[in-house]
């Protein structure tokens, strides 16, 4: 029985999966997801799709915040740029989606690069405030650049078409979203086994020490912004195809705070954590909605309170995690796993 990590080579130390069991589990999970849609309702497909998009976005933010230590309150702006540039590339230029999404993500990367320039001079709080103002400036541009973005009227996006099949329902777009979620997770997971990923972590832990050891801060901070905003760009492109109409109002500051909360609640510096955080934050309002629906018999006004109850629960969850479990759901998951790994001798 395995009762500890016995790593005798760097290769085994760097391995993502220690044993074959998690691989089998993951393959089963993916297979389960793939055959799931026919049995699901539109409502749950919509929730699943939003979770998938949130996973990509949250991993992107975690790379920047959790792994590189650069605080960004502008993630909603990244998503907005990704969504709008993808949509504009399809509507105005006429590109198919499989070109528009990567190109849109590249545009977002360029945008992230500009966004990241202040990080070369500013740290911590100042960077947070700089990204906050960048967020407001970006949304202002989106609202007012009406010839491109249609402003507050909303920009409709044609459905993605695969081999003549339009992905116009939640059941169809599901496969596109999760076909991108899986490589997004794998790439992030592998990124931190490479030189670049380790450099990110070094910058986070102590930037001066990192630069003494030959990690170029200029290069890696900007690279972190580029990678992070590429993820956000992909997530934004998927949002455009999922909701099929874009409003500037879908990218408020609250969205950025939601993504920050996903990273914090899920666990900073953990890829699994981002996944948990995305699931948690997407399910939270849905669970409240279901509770309210079941309560309408007893308490007819319950539905009117969802928005405010969500605010309260969200705030309390953030405060609770920061105070009692700063490493987030990822840490709970690790504890849970190690408990069962050694069961029944887990003490």
């Amino acid at each position: 029985m395995k009762c500890g990590g016995f790593r005798v080579s760097y290769r085994s130390d760097e391995r993502i999966f220690d044993t074959a069991l998690p691989i089998v589990g993951l393959v089963l999970l993916l297979a389960g997801l793939a055959v799931f849609p026919p049995f699901a309702t539109t409502y749950w497909m919509d929730v699943l799709n939003r979770i998938g998009i949130a996973i990509i976005g949250a991993i992107g933010l975690n790379i920047l915040l959790g792994f590189t230590g650069q605080i960004s309150i502008g993630h909603a702006a990244f998503l907005a740029v990704g969504a709008y540039s993808t949509a504009i590339l399809e509507v105005n230029v006429g590109l198919p989606f499989f070109l528009a999404i990567p190109l849109g993500a590249l545009i977002t990367s360029g945008f992230g690069l500009i966004f990241g320039i202040p990080s070369l001079r500013l740290k911590g709080l100042y960077l947070a405030i700089a990204t906050l103002s960048a967020h407001f400036i970006t949304t202002f541009v989106i609202v007012h650049w009406e010839s491109m973005t249609k402003g507050v009227v909303g920009l409709s996006v044609p459905p993605a078409v695969v081999l003549g099949l339009p992905l116009d329902s939640d059941f169809r777009i599901f496969y596109l979203i999760y076909a991108l979620v899986v490589p997004a997770i794998l790439f992030a997971k592998n990124l931190f086994r490479t030189r670049v990923g380790r450099a990110f972590i070094a910058v986070r832990d102590r930037d001066v020490a990192a630069s003494v050891m030959g990690v170029s801060l200029l290069r890696y901070k900007l690279l972190a912004f580029i990678v992070s905003s590429f993820y956000a760009g992909v997530a934004g492109g998927l949002m455009a195809h999922h909701s099929r109409i874009l409003f500037p109002d879908s990218f408020t500051l609250l969205v950025a705070i939601d993504y920050l909360a996903m990273v914090i609640i899920g666990g900073m510096g953990s890829i699994v954590g981002s996944i948990f955080g995305a699931i948690f934050m997407t399910l939270l309002p849905e669970v409240l909605k279901l509770t309210a629906t079941s309560l309408t018999g007893v308490y007819p006004q319950a539905f009117g309170f969802i928005a405010s109850v969500r605010d309260v629960v969200f705030g309390l969850a953030v405060i609770f995690f920061l105070m009692y479990e700063p490493l987030g759901l990822a840490r709970i998951w690790v504890r849970f796993r190690s408990y069962w790994q050694l069961w029944p001798y887990s003490y």
Binding site: L120, K123, I129, F140, D311, V312, G315, L316, I319
Partner: protein, 299 residues
């Protein structure tokens, strides 16, 4: 006087009046930052809280003004204590992102609780001043703007005297200067932290009451104004009370001027974004603001 000049003067005067309120909010922010290096990302919600509580005491519970105001301020002090004791004290020494996030967290709780208690409709505020504008030379000024500015001026003066001459005020300045030295001289740093939150909540509440009067009603859009605190404090310097006051007025004037002149070109909304453009420019040129301590380390 030409029409053009009157237009400009009007913008400047409104800007000064609104900027005074920004100064008040920024004062609360700077006090907290100076004392405990906590960045409050929910200043708007504190303002909102004050505005709603004062609305509830004056109009809902029909208290007379001399009773309603103290009650409101006591509630604000309690809120400050709860936030400091319950939320921020356990997080002393945590990384800055945790502190930022926790302030987002309690801001969200305040917003939710207010929404649950009083709903999201606009609540009319009692009209204390005649809406009829009077003329200052050729420029029309509305009384509510003038009065709000006078009140802000008195408050700021009172706080300056408090910090300058009272023992508690000096203890607060000492703590801001150097926590360890202050502690060795018998200042209870914990009490100062709590006190700075209480004062911040009180000034935010007063700002809320004034804003409610200026706009003639309270609704949740007040909270968005709270984020204007950041341009103000960055312009004035994060740890400078004088900077907060001057920065508030400057930002108020700048946003009104840019709104007045650029709105026709961009089609509205310039007022909301101009302070943040200024903010980015200042961060690039002089990150510690006009009056702040220059301790930005190069990275």
């Amino acid at each position: 006087m030409t029409e053009h000049l009157v237009f400009m003067l009007q913008l400047v005067i409104t800007g000064i009046a609104v900027g005074g309120v920004y100064s008040l909010m920024a004062l609360g922010f700077v006090l907290i930052f100076k004392a405990s290096s906590v960045v409050n990302f929910g200043p708007g919600e504190l303002v909102l809280f004050g505005a709603y509580v004062s609305w509830a005491t004056i109009l809902n519970m029909k208290m007379p003004l001399y009773l309603a105001l103290p009650v409101t301020l006591v509630v604000a002090i309690l809120l400050g204590l709860v936030i400091e004791r319950g939320i921020l004290r356990p997080l002393i020494g945590e990384p800055i992102i945790s502190v930022i996030m926790v302030t987002f967290g309690f801001a969200s709780v305040i917003r939710g609780v207010l929404n649950m208690t009083w709903g999201s409709d606009t609540r009319p505020f009692p009209v204390l001043f005649s809406p009829e504008p009077f003329r200052l030379g050729p420029v029309p000024v509305s009384p509510v703007h003038l009065w709000s500015f006078v009140v802000v001026l008195i408050l700021l003066l009172a706080f300056s005297i408090f910090f300058r001459f009272s023992l508690t005020g000096m203890a607060m300045r000492a703590t801001a200067d150097n926590q360890q030295v202050a502690q060795s001289l018998g200042v209870s740093v914990k009490r100062i932290f709590a006190l700075s939150w209480c004062i911040a909540c009180v000034v935010s509440t007063l700002a809320g009451i004034i804003l409610g009067n200026v706009r003639g009603g309270v609704d949740f859009s007040l909270a968005d104004l709270g984020l204007k605190v950041f341009p103000v404090v960055i312009l004035g310097g994060l740890d400078s009370v004088a900077g907060a006051i001057i920065g508030g007025v400057l930002i108020g004037v700048l946003e009104n001027l840019s709104g007045g002149y650029l709105d026709p070109i961009f089609g509205g909304g310039v007022k909301e974004v101009a302070p943040f453009v200024i903010l980015v420019l200042i961060l690039m040129l002089r990150p510690y603001g006009f009056f702040g301590k220059a301790e930005i380390e190069r990275v």
